[in-house]
């Protein structure tokens, strides 16, 4: 009986299936036509939007701001002719030109620090000149310094910039081994260096981050640095990375270190910078923070006000002030202080190889800048 029923059902089913598929086909055709129409409409609105956006962007550029495509995301200021010449010389194997360029910074340690990294960048790609330099002058402190900084750079290159889960075992193992090698190179550079030179210790800051120095060990390193150059802006900025939650610290530690630095300095010495970094790092780390809320909190407003006062007291010819201005532009934008933000954008525009833009990218920079410009320009 069951068999009979099933047999009947199957026969019936076959006929019904034919019928249904025929119907659905015509239906599907209609749906497809509908969808195509909707897609057309979407394309038209998208095109209109893009056109409007382009017009707006062009209007800002017309006021003298740099177009998105022309923004320099590598540097915070134009490369100096000396730097260009030195890099070209070492590329062609003339290490002596590199040595002279670096040593010309003299005891301006911030400047010496700024000049090392571009040379290390070259050495990380092709270090024949560095090997020649080291072979010719085994106890040259400057060669040892470039060697150490290059070693650090190569370790980070091997690790790559992907998150932990997208970094391979091979990369992690090599990264660790190479940091240990870099640490040796750093210690060698410290032994050979001028006793007053903090730069080899500043190179060790990156090693400390990668190897995860315990806090006490980092404080020891830090005391070596500030004993040699207490107000070094780059060293303070580097330290913020270590004390950030993402490396070996916490939001609270980072902010307290930053405020301590600010308190130790006179207005114009620019040490209000670390607090601005601490704000940006905290916001980046916490997914649930809203920029328009967090950056308007009293701590953030106080930090921004302090930095503005610091900036006002600083030597206007000091290039380091742009480092404050980049962060201020971003924070003032979120605090809806558009006029003050515009002042910063006017100065920094063009060269955006700085915090916070290397976290956010060109598009966010342009968005913030154009917003501020439009808000402050009547009729735009």
């Amino acid at each position: 009986m069951t068999g009979l029923i099933i047999f009947g059902l199957i026969l019936l089913g076959g006929a019904a299936y034919r019928f249904i598929t025929a119907r659905t086909k015509t239906l599907q055709g209609k749906i497809a036509a509908h969808e195509a129409g909707a897609a057309d409409a979407q394309t038209r609105t998208a095109a209109a939007k893009a056109e409007k956006k382009a017009t707006q962007a062009a209007a800002v550029v017309a006021l003298g701001y740099v177009a998105e495509a022309d923004l320099d995301t590598e540097n915070t200021r134009p490369e100096s002719p000396e730097e260009k010449a030195a890099l070209a010389a070492v590329r062609s194997g003339d290490w002596e030109a590199g040595a002279a360029y670096l040593d010309a910074a003299g005891e301006d340690w911030e400047e010496r620090w700024q000049r090392v990294r571009p040379l290390s960048d070259v050495a990380a790609e092709d270090d024949a000149w560095l090997l020649a330099w080291r072979a010719a002058r085994p106890s040259d402190p400057t060669a040892a310094l470039v060697n150490a900084d290059t070693a650090v750079l190569v370790a980070w290159k091997v690790r790559g910039s992907q998150s932990g889960s997208r970094t391979t075992q091979e990369q992690f193992r090599l990264f660790h081994d190479l940091l240990l090698t870099a640490q040796e190179a750093v210690h060698e550079a410290q032994r050979l260096a001028d006793p007053g030179d903090p730069v080899p210790y500043m190179v060790e800051q990156a090693v400390a981050q990668g190897l995860g120095y315990p806090n006490d060990e980092y404080r020891k390193l830090w005391s070596e640095i500030i004993a040699r150059d207490p107000k070094n802006l780059s060293a303070h900025a580097n330290a913020q990375q270590y004390w950030a939650r993402k490396w070996r610290g916490s939001h609270e530690l980072a902010m307290s270190v930053a405020l301590e630095a600010a308190a130790s300095a006179a207005p114009g010495e620019l040490l209000t910078l670390p607090a601005l970094i601490a704000l940006v790092e905290q916001e980046l780390h916490e997914d649930d923070l809203k920029k328009e809320v967090f950056f308007k909190e009293p701590t953030a407003v106080a930090a921004v006000d302090a930095a503005l006062a610091d900036l006002a007291a600083a030597d206007p010819g000091d290039w380091r002030t742009v480092r404050l201005r980049h962060l201020l532009a971003w924070l003032l934008f979120w605090q809806d202080r558009d006029a003050e933000a515009l002042e910063q954008f006017k100065v920094i525009d063009g060269y955006i190889g700085a915090m916070p833009w290397y976290y956010y990218g060109k598009a966010r920079y342009v968005h913030a800048r154009d917003w501020v410009v439009r808000e402050c320009t009547p009729g735009l």
Binding site: I5, G13, A16, T43, E125, D127, L131, E170, L178
Partner: protein, 539 residues
């Protein structure tokens, strides 16, 4: 519960499976009739009918799949009473103690296990041919009293008539499993089809420059899955009904084991099982088959018999396994309760005064254990494996490790050839040729490593980062050549260890540290090959 009651339950449970099928089909038919009576007609009714037919198919198939896959007999050596009088006498002795008929055949197998089967007839109402399987690795690791305890446990299953019902219970389980699988397969196929369809659509959208919708197959195959769920629920009920009985059977068999061998022997036999199992697995992977890649095997009889060396050498390590027993059954489907529970139940019994009697190794129950181990190899190994070259343990380790190092350097040879290393009439070893080439042009090192396989990250790296990816590769390659050079000259030898992995014994103390330094120099940015040459090639 008596055996006949258990038989009845097994039968009822199996009948329940058929009943469930009929009920489900009736329900489907009922829905169709109901739909038609409720005035649904035309295409909608047809659709309902189609769905019910489609769902009925797997049910009917499950009910009519009567043929079960045949249980494979375990490969092994069947031994007659004439061949193994002592073993047979022991087994009969145990059978008498447990109070059951002795098995009809004894088969020696290659597992750390013993087991019984019974070819029961008439749904388990009549006794059939009884087979007793005894693992030689089990005998290797246990003394006679413990083996008696294990065998008594197995024969306890005969006595409780457990073995008779096994086929019936198995039929029920297999048919249920098949039906559930059938439904799930259909559900999966439907999801896969839908996914493919949506992905194709998404591709089209992307091709047309639009944002693709996320693929969503949540609702697909839901009907199939619902049917599978009904059967799974019955399966769970079935398993609970039979499993608790199965576990009780195991505990009852443990009591038989205690009666036959004494409380302490029975408990320590279970502890021993927990140690020998993993030891045997490790032994088979790391020792017995170590030379297989070089087509080498240990001497005849040692493929399974060599376990003894490992058990003796790692006695301390194994003690941990004897004391830390698993608290959970090996799997939810395992008919054995957790080992810890079984041992605790046995050890809670009153002392029977028999203690853990000292007794001879159980391999001595065999007329010629060596010959049995060889016969087992013949029965279990493929003819190809059986015919492999046999070497004693020391030579086996040395020769196979040397062969593996040699095999590993084959791609190195190709890289050398491509870079012209060792060609042009230079004589001597690979290492000598390479060092010579490095002296002439240090960069040849990176050209060689560039030809060796590497990770995507290494391939993408440039400049010094690329070199840092290559440096460990170069170091390994050089180390390989050093090993090949030293072993070929007889200056170094791979060393067997029953407690650790094989190591290379270098010509002198402190050689290894010197070698590290020499490899560092040879792989440095500004290389110095002299230390390596002096250390390895000079003598």
């Amino acid at each position: 519960m008596g055996a006949s009651l258990r038989a009845l339950r097994a039968l009822v449970l199996l009948a329940g499976f058929y009943l469930l099928g009929l009920v489900l089909i009736a329900a489907l038919v009922g829905i169709d009739i109901g739909a038609s009576a409720a005035g649904i007609h035309g295409p909608s009714l047809a659709k309902i009918v189609i769905v019910s037919v489609v769902l009925a198919v797997p049910i009917v198939r499950g009910m009519f799949m009567l043929r079960l896959p045949k249980a494979e007999p375990l490969p092994g050596v069947t031994v007659s009473e004439e061949q193994e009088p002592v073993l047979w006498r022991t087994v009969r002795d145990i059978a008498a103690q447990v109070g059951t008929r002795a098995p009809d055949e004894i088969v020696l197998i290659a597992d750390v296990n013993a087991g019984v089967t019974e070819d029961a007839r008439l749904l388990g109402l009549r006794s059939g041919t009884r087979s007793l399987y005894i693992g030689l690795p089990l005998m290797t690791g246990m003394d006679e009293m413990r083996l008696r305890a294990v065998l008594a446990h197995e024969m306890g299953h005969y006595a409780n008539l457990d073995t008779r019902l096994t086929p019936l219970i198995r039929r029920g389980r297999v048919q249920l499993l098949r039906t559930v699988e059938n439904f799930q397969d259909r559900a999966d196929a439907k999801v896969a089809k839908e996914r493919a369809k949506q992905e194709k659509k998404a591709e089209k959208r992307i091709a047309a420059g639009k944002k693709a919708k996320a693929v969503d197959t949540t609702g697909d195959g839901a009907m199939y899955r619902a049917m599978a769920k009904i059967y799974t629920a019955y399966g769970k009920f079935y398993r609970r009904a039979t499993l608790s009985a199965a576990r009780r059977q195991e505990l009852a068999a443990d009591l038989a084991s205690v009666r036959a061998a004494g409380r302490d022997s029975a408990a320590s036999a279970l502890r021993e099982l927990n140690a020998i199992g993993p030891a045997h697995e490790f032994y088979m992977d790391s020792y017995a088959t170590l030379g297989v890649g070089a087509r080498l095997l240990p001497p005849p009889g040692q493929v399974f018999g060599g376990l003894r060396h490992l058990l003796d050498a790692r006695a301390g390590e194994l003690d941990g396994l004897r004391t830390d027993l698993p608290e959970e059954p090996a799997s939810p489907y395992d008919s054995h309760p957790a080992l810890a529970e079984r041992v605790a139940r046995i050890e809670a019994l009153p002392d029977d005064g028999r203690g853990a009697q000292a007794s001879r190794p159980s391999l001595e129950l065999l007329a010629d254990s060596e010959a049995s181990l060889i016969a087992l190899e013949r029965a279990v190994l493929t003819p190809e494996a059986f015919a492999m070259r046999r070497l004693d343990w020391e030579d086996l380790v040395h020769e196979s490790m040397s062969a593996y190092v040699g095999q590993g350097s084959e791609e190195l040879q190709e890289a050398f050839a491509a870079e012209g290393v060792g060609t042009g009439g230079s004589k001597g070893s690979d290492l000598a040729s390479l060092l010579k080439a490095v002296d002439a042009d240090p960069a040849v090192r990176w050209r060689i490593t560039d030809r060796l396989p590497k990770s995507d990250e290494a391939a993408a790296a440039t400049g010094r980062a690329a070199r840092e990816f290559a440096r460990p590769v170069l170091r390994r390659a050089l180390n390989q050549l050093v090993t090949a050079e030293l072993t070929a000259r007889g200056a170094a030898r791979w060393q067997l260890s029953w407690t650790d992995s094989a190591t290379l014994r270098y010509p002198a103390d402190g050689f290894e540290e010197q070698l590290h330094g020499a490899l560092d120099s040879a792989t440095a940015d500004l290389p110095d090959t002299e230390p390596l040459r002096k250390l390895v090639l000079a003598p």
